[in-house]
């Protein structure tokens, strides 16, 4: 009995997929997150399929191999708009280039791999201990007593600096996280030094992949564009970001609701969207998203806020918004909203206030068929795009995160948009 009854039972369940997002892979991620027969998981250990969505640059192939080898057998990989790794090209991996065909291909691969009908993906890394057992010391950890030595070839974590919280210096834990870590922007790789749960040092090793914007922002930069369409795209962008923050906060039902609302932005009437968003906002407050899940830390100083621009700057009291200078928006009675605190909580308050404002603007613009009056400048959800698109700002995390608890640091990253805007529009 090559396939146990447990495997056959698992084959009938939803396809458990670990998404390793490359460049321009987000679109597939959002489509799959809402699919009833697909479950996107946060750890490769829970997955039967590895989906590599979007291009992965050669320097990130080694991290990708590490993620690949962490899936439990039997498993296979699918490559969406991505070139499979050289070692896997002979293994007959499935490559899918159409977004419509992707969900079915994943479900089919999941069933086949668990029933033993599909060849499993081979292991890519050498199966040997990274740091072999040396049998030295009292407990085989390489040194005397609890201290010193090089256990398993890795040095013991020793405190080089003072603790940031209460002066009690603890061992530091150094590790590299990313670039396929699902709880922060795709492509971001950082070396983190933790002391207890406090971030001692955060240094960015590779920047997040540039994010692809909706084509309407590119059109608005070139010629007059319907304000209703622009504002709908803005709402969708912020709600998709909210999906990640809610997922991180451990509120999956609200996260899916945010994403369903985001994906309905293109097709639902403005009235239905406004009503849906008001109900959703009330639900967020009732469930304590602001009071319990958003820390009042990660405050941007003026220099950082100006560098980041967009909603993050407005949440810190800087009232810069290119829409104020546009005659089309002025006719609709637009005025920029801002907050003062500039912390994680106020950034989400700002974003949600801007979503509500965008829906109101879209409703007014739809009645008057309003279009933008200026070209060569557009307020993207990430910030103003004049001569250059908003660039990468991940370097500011190195100044912002030290001193925060790990959970607060992740919530702060989720509240910011540090990835730059891609030169290519979303398909």
């Amino acid at each position: 009995m090559a396939v146990s009854w447990l495997s056959r039972l698992a084959a009938r369940g939803p396809a458990t997929v670990f998404p390793a997002l490359g460049m321009q892979g987000e679109e597939a991620f959002y489509q799959l997150a809402l699919h009833p027969e697909i479950e996107l998981v946060d750890s490769p250990r829970h997955a039967s399929l590895l989906l590599v969505a979007g291009g992965v640059p050669p320097e990130l192939h080694e991290p990708l191999r590490r993620v690949h080898d962490q899936l439990p057998a039997p498993f296979t990989t699918l490559w969406y708009q991505s070139e499979p790794l050289l070692e896997l090209q002979q293994a007959g991996v499935v490559r899918v280039d159409s977004l419509e065909a992707l969900p079915d291909a994943l479900v089919d691969a999941h069933r086949k791999v668990l029933r033993g009908e599909l060849g499993v993906s081979p292991r890519l890394l050498v199966d040997e201990p990274p740091n072999p057992w040396r049998g030295l010391g009292d407990d085989g950890h390489g040194g005397e007593g609890m201290m010193g030595g090089v256990p398993y070839g890795r040095p013991m974590a020793m405190p080089p600096t003072q603790d940031l919280r209460d002066g009690l210096a603890l061992d530091t834990l150094t590790f590299r996280l990313g670039p396929f870590f699902p709880l922060w922007p795709a492509g971001l790789e950082a070396e983190v030094i933790l002391q207890g749960d406090i971030v001692q040092q955060f240094s960015v090793q590779s920047r997040p992949f540039p994010r692809a914007m909706s084509p309407v922002f590119f059109d608005a930069w070139e010629h007059a564009m319907s304000i209703a369409r622009l504002e709908r795209a803005r709402v969708q962008y912020h709600l998709r970001a909210l999906f990640h923050a809610l997922h991180l906060a451990g509120l999956p039902d609200l996260a899916w609701r945010a994403l369903r609302l985001a994906e309905a932005c293109d097709r639902q009437t403005i009235t239905a969207l406004e009503k849906g968003f008001k109900d959703f906002e009330r639900c967020l407050k009732r469930r304590g998203f602001f009071a319990l899940h958003l820390p009042t830390c990660g405050t941007l100083n003026t220099e950082h806020a100006e560098a980041l621009g967009g909603f993050a700057a407005r949440a810190a009291g800087i009232e810069g918004d290119a829409r104020r200078d546009d005659e089309g928006y002025r006719r609709l009675g637009f005025s920029a909203i801002s907050q003062q605190a500039g912390d994680t909580q106020s950034r989400w308050r700002q974003r949600l206030a801007e979503v509500a404002q965008s829906l109101t603007l879209a409703a007014r613009a739809q009645q008057n068929d309003a279009v933008t009056a200026t070209t060569g400048v557009v307020e993207t959800p990430r910030g103003v795009w004049r001569d250059e698109r908003p660039g990468d700002a991940s370097a500011l995390l190195e100044k912002l995160l030290p001193g925060l608890e790990w959970g607060e640091a992740l919530a702060t990253i989720a509240s910011l948009d540090v990835a730059g805007v891609s030169q290519w529009a979303r398909p």
């Binding site: 090559a2 256990p151 590299r176 990313g178 396929f180 870590f181 207890g196």
Partner: protein, 115 residues
């Protein structure tokens, strides 16, 4: 005889437990070393996970033990108090005085401040 029965029950339950663990995974290959490494989204750890960390509730635990020990002795003390009279009161007073030093130490360490 009872000991033998107990030993048999123990062996059967132990054997059953091990069988339940082994049977579904008997054909599964052993997890490779890269698979067993901690998942860091493609990253890797520099240091061993065997690190010392601060148990933040530790002073609170000490305080609980201080109060708990006090109560543990006060129940039997209450039984003999009527018979022994003043002697028992003094003995308990000494014991409580020693315990209070622990509570004062906890106070100095900030046990009563909830962070």
């Amino acid at each position: 005889m009872e000991l033998l029965a107990l030993l048999i029950v123990l062996l059967i339950s132990l054997g059953g437990g091990l069988l339940l663990q082994w049977w579904p995974n008997r054909r599964q290959p052993m997890a490779t070393y890269p698979q067993r490494a901690p998942f860091l989204g493609g990253g890797w750890p520099d240091t061993h996970a065997w690190s010392r960390y601060h148990l933040r509730y530790y002073p609170m635990t000490l305080l609980l033990i201080a109060f708990e020990m006090e109560m543990m002795f006060m129940y039997p003390w209450a039984v003999v108090y009527v018979e022994q009279g003043m002697k028992a009161v003094m003995e308990m007073g000494m014991f409580l005085a020693i315990l209070c030093v622990g509570i004062l130490y906890g106070w100095r360490e900030g046990v009563f401040k909830w962070q």
